[in-house]
Symmetry: C2
Subunit: 337 residues, 2 copies
């Protein structure tokens, strides 16, 4: 069924977003260059240099939450879209759409966070734009759209065409923190034991992997969560995926709150976690390199690409069952990134 | 006085916008690379290659208006930010923030316009992002933030440090059409004799100027209009500007409506017009090159950079008077670009 009117689900990063892209944007933009399967476009510019180029909009509400805020999120989110393509992030450009009535104090705090996050990653914010709009209701008061340029450093491309059966799937750390941090701040949950967002630059964790030729594919796990990203991977490669539930790192705090709230951690967004598909022969070396980094110390081999030509994601549960992990269909968590 | 809360005027492109930049963004972003004096950042990437990189948000309401729409505006606006830096626009990335309830028909029309505008300029749309938000009230229903990359082709940089007293100011064509087109569509004015936006890519008009070393500075005249851009130029260079009112090209239709509506055409936004500062020796050659192009056929020498070290803009009026052209202070025309 074709889309008639846009709904929140179309922004979820799940199957409704795929539908929106397939109905409206892909038919029009694919033949003028769109590379929808990558987090950043790869642009050869001669002399063996390949640029990575990306854009990401951030509409998180509230703009401040434990562990991060809209400012660092908008910088690190875009840095990560470049980093997972094997690129070194270099330059950012930031477009602000600000509602009338926003305080300069709030805007200054956001800008300071952006400055600090960029400086920490040695990335320059070189261009900007501000628009001011009237606004009411639940629309976020400050929207930041951040575009980034990087230079590809990985010796082989980290992209979908290189994924094949037998590839090992490595998750760089625990899942679920970011969504719970934002939802907690929004609804004043977890006051005594706040959950902090995992928002961070993935670049330092991924640099040691640049020289490894057997890294096939890397993606950060944001909107739609691990379940969303795995379904996209299955869909894009045409291969099935087998997961081992016990190997998926989840903190006891996140697991406990997910049980109470009825959330499936597989669909929670993250802002400092990567999923990697690597050749079987390179898996233990990759795990060891990740394990030496701060962000990758809980990295875990969670499954593999199967030779099943049904592009479905199967979870082998801790009690010995097998269940299908569907693509997220609706929008469980609006305005979290 | 420092800003406490954001108002519409802070998005005007005039003195309030300058204040917002100076209070909040410049102190934080300048030391991490921001190049606020240019429409696009210039990034040398080795081998004599310089990238131009820019971002621009578009919040026009209504999204369709005579001569253009949000789609072509978001593509050509970003192309123009690159073109006025002497660059060839190559790649765009587009971030959409869409309100719940927007029809797929409307979104498809916008996407088609973007596709057509990009294809017409041989520019690729290589990356995108969509977010969906709840929304009410007067906030534009579809916001597009477009980032662009180009390669600098002009043999000398077109930027502020090269502007000097005696430089001739050339305006590439008539002013005022874009604002009147959007305001006309918003308020159902001019139904029998609609005014079409001048929205267009400036690149073809500027290409013949790339080999001319005496082009010192080029800027497109959008928010804040000619009055805004001239005041920014005076402020940035520290020199005064003398204008000849009779030489400023304005169509009789625009002039007539401005008189009726009480608008000063000097502050109306344009989306297909450039202002150039060129060495006196190169002025007639530049005018002749511009005159050979479709967009530049009404190009006119409108004034010069004076040796006055007061950075003010003086208009020599058609009746022999002299008046000060102030920077636009408030927001006369919200949501026009």
């Amino acid at each position: 069924m074709s889309i008639e009117f846009i709904q929140l689900a179309h922004g979820s990063g799940g199957s409704a977003t795929t539908k929106l892209l397939e109905q409206i944007f892909l038919p029009r933009f694919r033949d003028i260059g769109l590379q929808p399967e990558n987090d950043a476009a790869l642009l050869p510019i001669g002399n063996g240099v390949t640029l990575a180029f990306t854009i990401d909009g951030f509409v998180v509400e509230p703009p401040f939450f434990p562990g991060s805020d809209l400012g660092s999120l908008s910088v690190n989110g875009t840095i990560n879209d470049l980093a997972v393509m094997g690129a070194r992030p270099l330059y950012l450009a930031c477009g602000f759409v600000i509602s009338v009535g926003v305080s300069s104090t709030m805007l200054s705090q956001i800008a300071t966070s952006m400055q600090e996050a960029a400086a920490a990653s040695n990335v320059q914010i070189v261009a900007g734009d501000t628009k001011v709009v009237e606004s009411r209701g639940t629309t976020p008061q400050i929207q930041v759209t951040t575009s980034g340029i990087g230079i590809v450093e990985a010796i082989e491309p980290w992209h979908t065409p290189r994924v094949r059966p037998g590839d090992q799937l490595i998750l760089s750390g625990t899942i679920g923190e970011h969504t719970l941090a934002v939802m907690g701040a929004r609804h004043s949950w977890f006051q005594h034991d706040p959950i902090a967002s995992d928002c961070a630059s993935l670049y330092p964790m991924l640099v040691p992997l640049h020289p490894i030729p057997d890294i096939h594919w890397v993606r950060d796990i944001t909107r739609g969560g691990l379940g969303g990203v795995l379904n996209e991977l299955a869909h894009a490669t045409g291969y099935g995926i087998e997961l081992d539930e016990e190997k998926i790192p989840i903190s006891s705090l996140v697991r406990g709150w997910c049980e109470i709230l009825g959330y499936d951690p597989l669909y929670l967004a993250n802002e400092g976690k990567a999923l990697l598909a690597v050749d079987r022969a390179a898996a233990s070396h990759t795990l060891s390199e990740l394990g030496k980094t701060v962000l990758g110390r809980h990295a875990s081999l969670i499954g593999e690409i199967s030779s099943d030509e049904q592009p479905v994601v199967i979870l082998n549960t801790s009690i010995g069952g097998r269940r299908l992990v569907m693509a997220p269909a609706g929008e469980l968590f609006p305005r979290i990134c």
